[in-house]
Amino acid sequence: MERPDAELIAAALQGDAASFEPLVQKYSPRVFATARRYARRESEVEDIVQEVWLKAFHKLASFRGDAPFEHWLMRLAVRTCYDFLRGHQRNRESSFTDLTEPESDWLERFVAAPESASEAADAAKQLVARLLEQMSPAGRLIITLLEIEDRSVKEIAELTGWSVPLVKVRAFRARAEMKKLLARLARDKYL
């Protein structure tokens, strides 16, 4: 029978490190899925998830238990991903001139007839990843949480630790940043 999270956490806090293992097993899929939204290389994803779990273990005493463990862990995961983005922002590419052939084809199909360009295509997936990679860390985080994961402003504020007005301001800026990047994509491709 599966032991409840609270029991496992209490045992881990009393020094039984093995009690932490079922928690890692249970929640790692969610943490991996979150990390894969912000890092492309699998080695980077594993580093992020490892950091999340090590932080979780060290900060376990600060988990009060008034909200589910999963929420607390996801807050840690999102903040660790944000730190990762900030630490790697120099690696951002600066232009759309090196699009692959399928990406160019997809864009041309979209220009000719927007409804014919399928969003399920791999090229569309690559293009959106390329676009997000060029955004600022805060912009990318906000667009991912708000537009892709469909979370509310309040949820984002809880996950990131930012205030609700700050989330709104950053969302406004992120949308403007995205629009600017799309304009550059159009210019690089067609001028």
Partner: protein
């Protein structure tokens, strides 16, 4: 090109392709091994290191005060209105040791 429509299309593509939640084999074992490798903070050692670091400034302050009381002794003497000469280093020492002196007097 309609940028708003392109944005909506690309965001829909991102929503349609959620990232995989696959976990590498025995990942939890790796996490526990990494946790065991991390050194446990030894509070005694931290305290000792802090004391050693504090020792150097303390010795420096002591030597400065000693040097000041010997070399600059004449500069710290001030004649009072009654004509008595007050030496600051002497007063400082008396103040610092006042409690010990009082206890010694009570004891004897």
């Amino acid at each position: 090109m309609n940028l708003n429509s392109l944005r909506d299309k690309l965001l829909a593509a991102a929503r349609a392709n959620p990232p995989s939640d696959q976990v590498p084999y025995a990942f939890e074992k790796r996490i526990l091994a990494r946790r065991r490798e991390q050194p446990v903070p030894d509070l005694g050692a931290l305290w000792t290191r802090m004391l050693w670091r504090a020792a150097a400034p303390c010795v420096a302050i002591t030597l400065t005060i000693v040097a000041w009381s010997f070399v600059g002794g004449s500069a710290t003497t001030v004649p009072t209105e009654t004509g008595e000469v007050v030496e600051f280093s002497h007063d400082f020492e008396q103040t610092m040791l006042a409690v010990v002196d009082e206890q010694a007097e009570e004891f004897w």
